[in-house]
């Protein structure tokens, strides 16, 4: 029997098992993505107003990004224990870099003349950020968001190694029981989820970016 037929058969036989894992996976990634977005954008905004903070935080997130994920998961288990909490912390740490960097770059690369005009016309600092800087940086911030979302969905596959559930469970089970169809089905579902979300975000990104061009 070909591997493809075996995968289809497995999926049909155990649909509810995979669907449960898929839902867990979506919840796990969703919570992480929400936390990353809030923290990342807030930090990015703070950094755009404070150069020394920006240098420090960029260095720190760059450093965290280089730690192998398995090592980070293992390290967190020692501190925060097994389960979803550790997984979410690890996912947040990885996901912060793209969104922080894009928020920071998007906000600091706005034409200073436009900021000058906005200030000269009497915008407060808050209005400058909310009406001019942030909307202008939004296409770049969103590109970082999209990047981060896909990465988080993929990385959440490893979270089951520390007992956080999700489609990683299928992958892990397939590996330990020498059952390739199980591993491949789990992996395909992770990939499929990431691709579908990426396509949806791509459509939204085009809409945001299509509104205007510089100049």
């Amino acid at each position: 029997m070909g591997i493809i037929a075996e995968i289809i058969k497995l999926f049909i036989e155990r649909t509810s098992f995979f669907m449960d894992l898929l839902v867990q996976h979506i919840i796990l990634s969703g919570i992480s993505i929400a936390i990353i977005t809030v923290i990342g954008i807030s930090l990015g905004i703070l950094m755009s107003e404070n150069k020394p903070l920006a240098a420090t935080l960029l260095m720190l997130t760059n450093f965290l990004y280089t730690i192998p994920s398995i090592a980070l998961f293992g390290f967190l288990v020692a501190i925060t224990g097994i389960g979803a909490k550790s997984a979410i912390i690890a996912l947040v740490i990885y996901g912060l870099l793209p969104i922080i960097r894009n928020t920071y770059v998007g906000l600091t690369e706005i034409d200073p003349q436009i900021i000058d005009a906005a200030l000269g016309m009497g915008s407060t600092e808050f209005q400058l950020m909310s009406k001019v800087k942030f909307p202008m940086a939004l296409p770049i911030i969103f590109a970082g968001f999209r990047n981060m979302v896909v990465m988080t969905i993929a990385l959440a596959g490893i979270a089951s190694f520390i007992g956080a559930g999700g489609l990683g469970v299928a992958i892990w089970r397939g590996i330990t029981t020498n059952y390739p169809a199980m591993t491949i089905t789990g992996s395909l579902l992770v990939a499929l989820l990431a691709i579908v979300i990426d396509i949806i975000l791509g459509v939204i990104e085009k809409r945001i970016g299509g509104i205007y061009h510089e100049g």
Binding site: I114, D116, G120, G122, T124, K131, M136
Partner: protein
Amino acid sequence: MPIIELKNITKSYKGKLVLDEISLSLERGEFYTLIGSSGAGKTTLLRLINGLEKPDSGSIYVDGKDIAESDLICLRRNIGYVIQSIGLFPHMTIYDNINYVPSLSKDGKALRRERVNELIKLVGLQESDLLKYPSQLSGGQKQRVGVARALAASPDVILMDEPFGAVDDITRHHLQDEILSIHAMLGTTILFVTHDIEEAIKLGTRIIILNEGKIAQLGSRHDIIFAPKNDFVQEFLGNKNYVAYLTTTKIGDVCDPIKEDISCYPVISSKEPIIEGLRRIMNGEAEALAVCNSESQIIGRYDLGCDKRLRANCIK
């Protein structure tokens, strides 16, 4: 009371003195143009007035109030501001760009649709342009939107920093004519920075020449043309002040009153610039021209002596 008053303003940048003990009063309703070589402190002077720069010493009064003690945000909302790169917001439609300043105030009262329509027509654009984004407009059109945006909150003063510096000659002439007619219509006080002497003389009812952080001369168009105050001003202007005089002064403003019957002379409209009269006289059409107004009545006589007599009057 002058609408803007600068008292002993000194400002330096990185150890270099940009403005040196400048005192200046701007009267309500006048159109001031500010010229000077680059680095003479023109832009700095402008930006001091809306508080984007702070003086090292001296005080600035707007409407009699020391701006060091006023709310800068509020001050800026009542002063129109147009810069060379225009600074239109690329993520907002033209409509929202024009509405920007009104939308900032606490009550968040946006302009009525009719008012925005009025403004966009005032600067020579179409209502249909309101739905466009800045990237869909030409350089000249963007500049017009910049002017409309500055007018939106009906400010008493508009500061303009080389607003027409980046557009082609023909567009610039149109924009100049339009800002003149807007000024004539609304009577808003304008302070206009430029490095183009002809532009300064064409637009300004009062012209300020800045040199090395000091005011080299402040005077009317005729003062600047016929009575440069010192060697610097003379050298700075070269002969451009005369060129500007010839191309921007209307013949009706310099012609002599009629003393004899001049109906035998060819007719010229009082609205033509002097240079057109000169051209016709030098082409040998006649030795003088009969100047007529828009109702075709002859109101004066123009010949080569008119400009000389005007100069003599001015020096007196």
